[in-house]
Subunit: 344 residues, 2 copies
């Protein structure tokens, strides 16, 4: 194992001081052209590479952000991560990652590690079960800015980038109404989830906007397991006034619901139309997809979170405002029709 070259080594060989080397390497104007060139030459010969760990330590700046998401293997989060990494890398920042797997304990451990690493900032989509927000406040002490992404804690004074589910839901209902549907079902997620409440509220508003009375029988929910997805669907199918369209909590619910519908010898999107909130990027290629998906644009959301975070870094360079500003970005979800297929 060869010894890793340092500026000391370069200085020794050139019989100059380490400060000269350091400055030359940075192209500092005060260093003579000849010296600068000689330094660079030796640096090249030795294959010198700056030791970032030393620099971080000294500069109290890591040029690294942390990204904590529940699960990278979910398409929603992985495309967000991809967007964030790309943005950060363009700003010459590095990205540290962690998966909470919806476990608040693990989430907390990751946050603490990131704090100890003195990361410059953090983007996080909190776990479904996170109720203790103390950790987030701790980060402020360490002056580590945090931007929440998609899943926002119930806290004041935070930065976030999120998605407004209402717009997509309203579009979906508009679309269904226009196609003549008057009896629209909703298969929602567990009621304790904020995400469920948002969908429900938007659903009701959508119907109200069209002066359609809300029939509570048409609103069912599931814990998102396949069993309950099937059960919930069955509930709707068993109604005297069977819905002619169903909006589902997400694609997995749609998949199960559509499968069950078929066992009743009904044709999806003819006898019963489906619209789901999007998780999977692949529907648009399929024949037996829902009529449409409500997209939440994870990549855009992620990039926006990164923008906000890097904006804070810039703020920091400028003078601090007396009253801190909190940045919020809310994207409108949007219904994307799958009617037009790749080949059609």
């Amino acid at each position: 194992m060869e010894k890793i070259p340092t500026i000391k080594e370069i200085a020794k060989r050139l019989k100059v001081s380490t400060s000269t080397v350091s400055r030359a390497l940075h192209g500092h104007p005060s260093i003579g052209l000849v010296t600068t060139m000689r330094v660079n030459k030796v640096a090249n010969e030795l294959n010198y590479e700056r030791n970032e760990t030393a620099i971080f330590f000294k500069q109290r700046k890591t040029f690294t952000i942390g990204v904590i998401l529940p699960d990278f293997s979910e398409a929603f989060f992985s495309s967000a991560l991809s967007g964030i990494e790309d943005y950060a890398s363009k700003k010459n920042y590095n990205v540290f990652i962690g998966q909470s797997f919806e476990n608040p304990e693990k989430e907390k451990r990751i946050l603490e590690t990131m704090k100890n690493h003195r990361l410059d900032g953090i983007i996080i989509s909190i776990s479904k079960n996170t109720t203790d927000f103390e950790v987030f406040k701790q980060l402020k002490k360490y002056n580590i800015p945090i931007v929440f992404f998609d899943r926002i804690p119930g806290m004041e004074d935070i930065h976030y980038s999120a998605c407004n589910l209402q717009s997509g839901m309203l579009q979906a209902i508009d679309c269904l109404i226009e196609k003549g549907h008057r009896s629209i079902g909703l298969i929602n997620g567990p009621s304790q989830l904020v995400a469920s409440k948002e969908r429900l509220d938007a659903f009701k508003k959508g119907l109200n906007d069209h002066q359609i009375a809300i029939n509570t029988e048409l609103i069912v929910s599931s814990d998102l397991s396949s069993e309950q997805n099937h059960q919930a669907t069955q509930q709707l199918l068993s109604l005297a006034e069977r819905p002619t369209a169903i909006i589902t909590f997400n694609d997995y619910v749609a998949r199960d619901a559509m499968a069950l519908v078929k066992t009743h010898n009904l044709v999806v999107n003819r006898d019963i139309s489906f619209i789901s909130f999007a998780n999977s990027p692949i529907w648009s290629f399929m024949d037996n997809s829902p009529l449409a998906s409500i997209e939440q644009f994870p990549q855009k959301q992620g990039i926006k979170a990164a923008e906000i975070l890097f904006g804070l870094f810039d703020d920091h360079i400028k003078e601090k405002p007396l009253t801190p500003v909190f940045h919020h970005a809310v994207f409108d979800s949007s219904m994307v029709s799958h009617a037009v297929k790749a080949m059609a």
Copy 2:
């Protein structure tokens, strides 16, 4: 902004030396119980958190690995990343990430950054276009072990975890033959890709094993664009001896091919059966999926790469063997039938 507490601060408050504090914080046996407790108490009060950047710098160990993949938004890579992160986090290691987007220049820049950060190890799936392997050798100088994942460079003396495409291809052909197919087409990727050659070789071997003569007309290729996917499919459909089954380079090719087949009023998996190499996790839920997918188990592969890498860390602690050992893990790809659907 409050000042971040250090061991110095603790030492000052307690009027002891920093070494005592450091030792106490680590539960060093030589420090008296009382002192240890007093130190811990003050540390808690001050909300002291160790500064990892200082420790990394001093210890010349970062407890961080780097993962470089072409694109996290691809399901294949994101599930690999998820597996790797999970494994690393269980070993109390951190994960640094980078996306090459198939760009060798960017890949090189990322590798250099990681080297400068003195990461403890790197897992990489090289870009399709990487031809210069010099960078990888450089890392050896810095004693940073590298494990290649799925996409392996043509180099000697490397560690890698990969997938053997042959096994899945043979299974697929076995399966088709058993179902009575004798005329099997292959829509392959661009010939310069190693991945294409592997598929082709396995394809030929599969047919040979069944004493089926290879009809070169049944082997077509595409640059993986939708246009060429359609063209390639059209070529097969136009043959006098039209294939009754087609194996495709990947799911996207399958999607396009299946779409085109339908425009000829042929029924997928009845008139022409499809089997594809898997990218998308969602086929298994769909009706109009290929008959089967050939799975490459990205998560398993990723975890194996991590296992190899962490094994090297352990090796390093033990004495070094005189002749270095290179670790290879090759998973067998496997055909997974989609015949049985979620509800069926």
